[in-house]
Amino acid sequence: MSRITLIFLVIFLGMAILVYRAFYLQVVRHSDFVAQVEDLFKTTSTVPAPRGEILDRNGVKLAWNQRYTLLEISGNFDEKGLQNLLRTYLSEKTAEVLKRLKEEGSVELRLPESLELQLYSIRGLKVTPVYVRLYRSEAFSHVVGYANTEGEGLSGLEKYYDDVLKGESGLLLKSSKGDVIDRIRPIPGKNLKTSIDVRLQEYAYKLLEETGKPGAAIMMNPSTGEVYTLVSYPGYDPNLLSSGLDEAQWRLMAADPRGRFINRAISATYSPGSAIKPLILAAGLYYQRNQTETMTVNCKGHYNLYDSSGKLIASYSDWYLPGHGVTDYVKAVAVSCNVFFFQLGSYLGIERMREMASVFRIDELTGIDIPWEKKGVFPDPRWKYDNVGENWYLGDTILTSIGQGFVRLTPIELLQLYNLIATRGKVTVPHILLDKSAESWIIDLGDVFDRLVESLTQVTTRGGASLAEQGTAYSVFRNFPVTVAGKTGTAEVGGGRAPHSWFAGFAPVEHPAVSVIVFVENGGYGSQTAAPIARDLLRKFFELYPEKLTD
């Protein structure tokens, strides 16, 4: 045998071994390898759950989803099968969709859910539902908040109730060839029904917008804690944020000097001005009943403070410089006489006022169900020493008694003061979720609340020839169909800027169905800007809910 023949035989033998080996792998061990490959290359993908919708108290949608179906080629895909399914729904547009899918590898369509479920069975096609979050308008931005493109709630109700809203994503298990092996359906998020009334909310936003100044407005049911309206102006367009805005848009929104992302209703504190007076009066009526009831001052437009040797150390002006004349506590509230409250405050002392503030929990978080609520400040000597590093002076007491100085409250904290007066001592944690069993408790101060309601009613009803006699919101609420109890507030801010404008109140006086607070930054006198807005809101409320008028 020649050597080349031998070599050929060796080569033949080598090939034979390889053929045997190939046969062994491809036939004998075939199923083992197929199983191994299945195990290695089967894919699981998550199927997002639709986020729950957020609705107003009448079922109007505040936040909802637009559903798309994302089709991606992920294997040797069954074009015929896809074509047949799509044709039933897209008819002549099918060819175009298929063309785009093949050219770009993916396509996003709006398809009914039933068809989408059928698409899962198409081999080599990855089907993913995509939800785009949509929102009603800017007016709701600070209540509803927004969720990002990944479906995480980042602010407002979207954040607070994220766990409820987000649901549970499902799973899709596919073989290496792209056939569906198993499917765990996503559990959709639950819908949230809120106590918000779209009509009131949008109206409030519009009224604030018309002032052109930042501000906030809240309307609540004082007895149940339901929030009808919670507006902070300016807001932002949540649709931009939920769809993933570009950097330029973000900069533009963030750069707004008015601070679009601050929820002024709960996350910013301001001097309450005279709107704090009911708390001071409550302290007076509770701790020094007789003195307060019998106390009168002859207001000449200023209040002089003397030291023990009788030397004048300071003089504080009333907002009404001609003076209110002889004034008792009812008139003092109605005409917002500072001189009376200077006197009352200096009799009471800061500790008593602070004690009443603690009873009312005025500077504590109200516990409303949206994130980033801020705590206000009701000062006392200890607080001043810790935070300002100075001792407490009588002047501080005097300023505190008219809501100036160091007092800082959020609109929602201040509204809680009026709510507990409206309910004669029942405090309920405010909530935006409609069917929430809210925590509540009773503050028993005897008839103090009735006295307060009486005085607050005078603010809107006490007539008179001049501002010395007239309730501060009398002209605003003249001829208003229902009696309103409330209080204006004008908080000096210094620096030559106009004061902050406040109005807080409730109606009807006997069985209050609604409370309201309006705050306008640098809006001027309370009676000038905030009170008319509050009046318009109350009017709108009783138009919408006339049955609540029956006192």
Binding site: F8, I11, G14, L25, H30, G75, N76
Partner: protein, 370 residues
């Protein structure tokens, strides 16, 4: 086994058969590369980049084939020293280029790269054929039948080894030994040489002539031979095995996409996944048929020792390289970077193989012309 036959008709038939085998191998390669190109995730925007480029390489290879086939083969015999010089120079030039994967194997000319070792394989065949023709009566001598021819081609083998491309140099060495054996070198001479080399290697390990860092270097050098990551081999075997009897069908393999260098070193696995046992048998039939036909033609029609041993060498080269490549693919050999001739993607390998094949054809036709 291969009785000589002078009939012109029979020769033409055998030559046509030879060409047919090569063409079928090329076509099979294109079909296999189509599979390597088509990935399941991008089924619908495929550029067929491997197929397109491979067609270009085949065209260039066929040009090389035509030129050498029509040339007088004796020119190569005369130019053998020049070829050796060229091979050595190009194998030195590769060190001027930055390494790819720790190895200097390529000359980078921006738009394409050349792998000189692929051409050097053909140069080795020419050198050996020429030597055997020259020393055909002295092949039984240990020195003249084994040592001298080995020393002659050793620059190529050693330069390839230190690129490092140990698998190609071992392949070269194997082909050289087999060809010398066919040419008459004594079997026990070869055995002696191999044992001697093995002893020297073991001794240098044992005695510790090598310093620890040199050992490390040697170890990493050996690792480079078994260079590829075993997992790509594992994936290759997996893809291959899932092919079953009939395969997934052309372009429809699903595992192939995960195999690195599926277009060259692991093209056999891709083909196996898509065409199954049936396709694999075809590859073996074609390979065996081609090698058999080369040997047959050389024995029957080629008188000159240079021509005959060149063709034997060419057949041995194709056979050994295929065995190594397929052995790696089915997991019988450690992973190496040896392509499957005429099938794997790659310009240098394709052009060198087809040009080498042209030389074989020119030998057969030239002999007949006289």
């Amino acid at each position: 086994m291969y009785p000589e036959n002078d009939s012109e008709k029979k020769l033409m038939k055998d030559l046509a058969g030879l060409l047919l085998y090569v063409l079928l191998m090329l076509m099979l390669g294109i079909v296999a590369l189509y599979g390597a190109d088509i990935l399941i995730s991008t089924t619908y925007h495929v550029e067929l980049s491997f197929v397109k480029k491979q067609l270009l390489w085949i065209a260039l290879g066929l040009a090389g084939f035509l030129i050498t086939a029509l040339m007088d083969f004796k020119i190569h015999r005369n130019l053998a020293p020049v070829y050796l010089l060229a091979a050595v120079i190009t194998l030195l030039i590769v060190f001027r280029f930055p390494p790819i994967g720790n190895s200097h194997r390529w000359i980078n000319l921006k738009s394409f790269t050349i792998q000189p070792s692929e051409f050097a394989k053909i140069v080795i065949l020419i050198l050996l054929a020429r030597y055997i023709e020259h020393a055909k009566d002295k092949m039984t001598s240990f020195i003249r039948g084994l040592i001298i021819p080995l020393l002659m081609v050793s620059p190529i083998v050693i330069l390839t080894a230190i690129e490092p491309d140990l698998s190609t140099s071992v392949l070269m060495f194997t082909v050289i030994i087999l060809l010398l054996y066919v040419a008459g070198t004594r079997f026990w001479h070869i055995l002696t040489l191999m044992s001697g080399l093995a002893l020297i290697a073991m001794a240098s390990f044992k005695i510790g002539i090598l310093k620890p860092y040199q050992m490390e270097r040697l170890k990493s050098f050996v690792d480079l031979w078994t260079g590829g990551h075993p997992y790509q081999q594992e994936l290759g075997r997996m893809a291959f095995a899932t092919g079953g009897i009939f395969g997934s069908g052309p372009g429809l393999g699903t595992i192939k996409r995960y195999i690195p260098v599926r277009e060259s070193d692991f093209i056999f696995s891709v083909f196996g996944e898509e065409f199954g046992v049936i396709g694999i048998l075809l590859v073996f039939v074609l390979l065996l048929g081609l090698v058999n036909m080369l040997f047959k033609v050389a024995s029957r029609y080629v008188e000159s020792a240079f021509g005959r041993y060149y063709i034997y060498g060419f057949g041995i080269l194709i056979a050994v390289q295929s065995l190594v490549n397929i052995g790696v693919n089915v997991g019988l050999l450690p992973p190496t970077g040896v392509p499957l001739p005429l099938v794997s993607y790659g310009g240098s390998s394709m052009i060198a193989t087809l040009t080498g094949f042209g030389i074989a054809i020119s030998i057969v036709t030239g002999e007949q012309r006289g």
